[in-house]
Symmetry: D2
Subunit: 339 residues, 4 copies
């Protein structure tokens, strides 16, 4: 299989490295508008082939194109690749808006091509373990998903902090919970005049007694990357900054029973049991993701992070941005989740 | 000075202990509807005098009454005490709603009596240090106040988690920032049928480029009590669960300058310097608060946590509860802050 | 049962409180040479009876005497109490030297009286859980016991830091491992002229492939109280400063197998599995210890922390002090462990 | 300048990378007995030249040779390189014993060549900051140096855990304290039959009231890399596992004064003030070290980590191993530190 990587900024070289190491990839081709970056990548990976333009890539015999450019180029480059019969893997978020995402999804389906979005976190041992725990029923009914991702981070020019950071938490949430929110209320603020919001708080409501909240901030003195997941039977803490024991499962919670005096009144009992931290697979997420993409292309499988997953996340990002512009006004998501 | 303490539940005995230890208090009287509690307190503090009823206290020659009952009794007992010429210290929150608070404030002023609310955190070394840092200008322009207070805590029957827990963060915010929000958007959920909300997220907007957020939860597997305070010159982290070094000051942040190429475009620079954790006074907060109340009564001073502070917090709690009922709808606070 | 407590310094009041709360204790009597302390204890515990002297206690009808005085008085007061037919509980360490301990043990046995030493840590949920794990065989062969107890602590005048702090770690080690060291090498230093050593490092050797080490320090900027226990099948970390999850069990270790190429050469394999933190009983240790003492007195049981346990620890303290005076010279312990 | 790197195991590739990136290095040559490793390095660093043997390197026009082989080869390869007029940088520890070290030092001096040992930690921002603090006198008189380096680490076949791990702590100690111990007492144990000791405790005595201790362990369930440095005016904690704030300076300690009642008796006072964590240079240590080596070669400077530093550490390792074989017997170091 031959893979082309377009865009060699921060993330592109990691994609080049992981596809280069795969036994199922005979050739990695790459291109970037910046000649300097091209030179560096070829110096670092001598077996990688440099293409002089994106058109050259389209015309080449590569099987798949990986788009790792700025967001605004995801849609045009992704569409061109699909129309040239290439399978496509696109950096997150999938595109600038849900309309673009829908077209990408439809085009891939019409042409029976693989469309995958690079929601990398879903391929980490930690998130796969969380998914496994929730799917097994061990957590019980889901009560809340609460995620914090703050840092003194790079202020983006083109997208707000939700599109930059919350996209990670949303993709984890979408995968682990397997439910789509029905409404969103988001607040936030921009501290630099003329820049997008750098701090944001996003609440999501569901059809069930589940609530989700994401706090993202580019302007925090300390780094926090922590997700709390509350259920009726277990609670889970995922702390990505822990060296090991990133996922802890707590046998803690409440039990709700009718009061002995009054059956219409509920009594709350408290439970505190053992904690356990399961061993996690420490394989690099991108290596697993690359192998998954290659497998989907080779065997016409649907990726875990398919175009629809990318679309769902972009719909949430759109709704959050709309709500944030009106200081938390509730935005409902009534479009059917699946096309 | 003679002090009466009404209500001997969880907090009352702490008030009894601290007032008993004061050299300026000649007698502590107390009462509770529960005879068992009365017996215990007298056994534990043999010098404390038991009153048979609240009326006995009103008729006694005590100078001040401390109300540590459930919230619903704050207003009726506080009003009676004021009308009998007693100075009053009331447990937080000051009362059930802002109307009750306003009446308490007005009655105290009309009778030239001290009305103080027990916002205990304001008397801790940590919060006083934060106030000092912000007041000195060291933090610069205020950007955000972000506070998390979660735990596997006691589900309350009469009030939601905001009235129970966020009241602490709001009183700290009010004191440290010295600004009143202009609008509130709050979301939350009740996981136990028929009980008030046990998880809530409260955003507050201000007239300036300041945003505040409080996350409270009775149903978390881990205990977190952390406040981040972001400013243009310094950032502060207050972690109440740290054994020492509860307050850390970070010389971190961004600098915003016109771009050299385009004066209308802002460039963001990043700054990372030293961190320091100042030594904090470790005197028990309630001891300092009791001394402050005694001093205010003796010398007709206005308490730091006066009735108006109690009113401001209750207005925020009301607005938050109203917003939460409508899934985050913005509630504006246009009543003038000071009566 | 009537209990007398002698010595009301730092620890005595805790003993008074716990014995007072017991349903099996009809009367607590106490005495101290310091009249001020006596006054305070009676004010705080109105039902406690004050004795005017130790002789009064000996002459009283109390069943047992608890000795919580400075170490030098443990032996003379303990002996007097035993000779007057009183059961005795003595603060740790049992006495000034092993000769005194042996006499106390012999006197108690001759008179069929309970002699117990206050090794409080053995009654905590954490240490009992560690004992349970090791006894069950879950940990496998024991490899090492490594304990650190450092702090900016009170410099003692009469005993070095080993007698003050390591006594805790030694009693935990003695209980959990169930083995007595055969030799000791200790190093340390005094930083204040004329005072005993304030920092010390104590290594203990056993007949098996087990090694133990204790690091104690009164002059550390941070507080550490952590014990590592390594075994062939599991490893345990006991961190007493953790709010919850004080005991963590790691399924980590090595496996040693003959090399496939050379049966005389060993190959080391590494194993990393799950971690778990069992729920611990959080009852106050001293409450459990007081109940155990009462039970031993009432039913003529031998306490977990009997006089011999106290003797074993004092022998280790003596050997460590002797070794420290000669900069680590090995001191063997060939006296039979049990009398 | 042309640099040759011999030995491409774990550390060699890092040396190749850092020297390759230097503007002052025109050519990096390398060799390893393992052809596979050679292939990988040339694939990864296409501009690096492969030598077919060490003799080829000696005959080449390279200015300096970096020896990153197993320890047993440090001396023979280092000596050959020096005798061929090459400057030499040798991986830590400098050689198998102090005799070898002395010869290397003498040969380098006789031939006026740079001999440097790769004590990498001394080039980290954290250790340089510690050195700066101690040198400035801010810490006051030095009381103790206590270092822990434990992990579930790779069991070595040829050297014990002291030679593998404590070498880091010893080089940090040597640099930061600027004092050489006068005697060593070490204990330890081997848990795998036929393998060297995998756990060790090393105490060092000095001519002053300073004591040092190093605890190393290949068989620990948790990773700890923490150094405490106690002084009369300040105490320092260096925790290498902290993401930021690796070095914390505590204004804590004791003051010792003659007692007012008895001038011959000392009174101990306690001091607790602010803590601060200075910003640290985060440049990769090996990049700074490589630049320092290049500068020493180019300008005939003596390296910070010169051959004598390597010799001092090896003397301590020898003494520790000798003491450990006799269960802590004191080994004095009376050879003059500097040749």
């Amino acid at each position: 299989m031959k893979i082309a990587v377009v865009g060699l900024g921060y993330w592109g070289p990691n994609l080049v490295r992981n596809f280069s190491l795969s036994d199922n990839v005979s050739q990695v081709i790459c291109c970037d508008l910046d000649a300097q970056r091209m030179k560096q990548i070829v110096r670092k990976f001598p077996h990688v082939k440099a293409a002089s333009s994106f058109d050259d890539i389209l015309k080449s015999d590569c099987d798949a194109v990986v788009v790792a450019t700025p967001i605004s180029q995801h849609y045009p480059l992704g569409m061109k690749a699909l129309k040239h019969g290439k399978h496509v893997l696109i950096e997150k978020p999938l595109a600038m808006n849900s309309k673009e995402c829908e077209e990408l999804v439809r085009t891939a389906e019409d042409n029976k091509l693989v469309l995958m979005v690079d929601h990398t976190f879903l391929y980490t041992g930690a998130v796969r373990k969380m998914k496994e725990i929730v799917s097994s029923g061990e957590v019980g009914d889901l009560y809340y998903f609460d995620s914090v991702r703050v840092n003194l981070g790079l202020f983006q020019h083109d997208v707000n902090v939700i599109w930059d950071l919350a996209v990670h938490d949303l993709s984890i949430m979408d995968y682990v919970l397997g439910q789509m929110p029905t409404a969103v209320s988001t607040t936030g603020l921009a501290h630099v005049p003329g820049k997008p919001e750098n701090i944001a708080y996003m609440t999501m409501f569901f059809d069930t007694t589940l609530i989700a909240h994401i706090h993202v901030n580019w302007l925090a003195p300390v780094k926090v990357r922590r997700t709390l997941l509350g259920g009726s039977r277990r609670m889970v803490v995922f702390d990505d900054l822990e060296a090991s024991e990133k996922v802890k499962i707590y046998d803690k919670g409440i039990s709700v029973n009718p009061s002995p005096e009054n059956v219409y009144q509920m009594q709350v009992g408290y439970r505190t049991g053992d904690m356990s931290a399961p061993r996690l697979d420490t394989t690099e997420a991108l290596a697993i993701e690359a192998a998954h993409f290659i497998d989907c292309v080779a065997n016409s499988h649907r990726p875990i992070t398919d175009g629809e997953a990318g679309l769902r996340i972009v719909r949430l990002l759109e709704a959050a941005t709309e709500s944030m512009a009106t200081r938390g006004r509730l935005v409902t998501l009534n479009t059917p989740v699946h096309l």
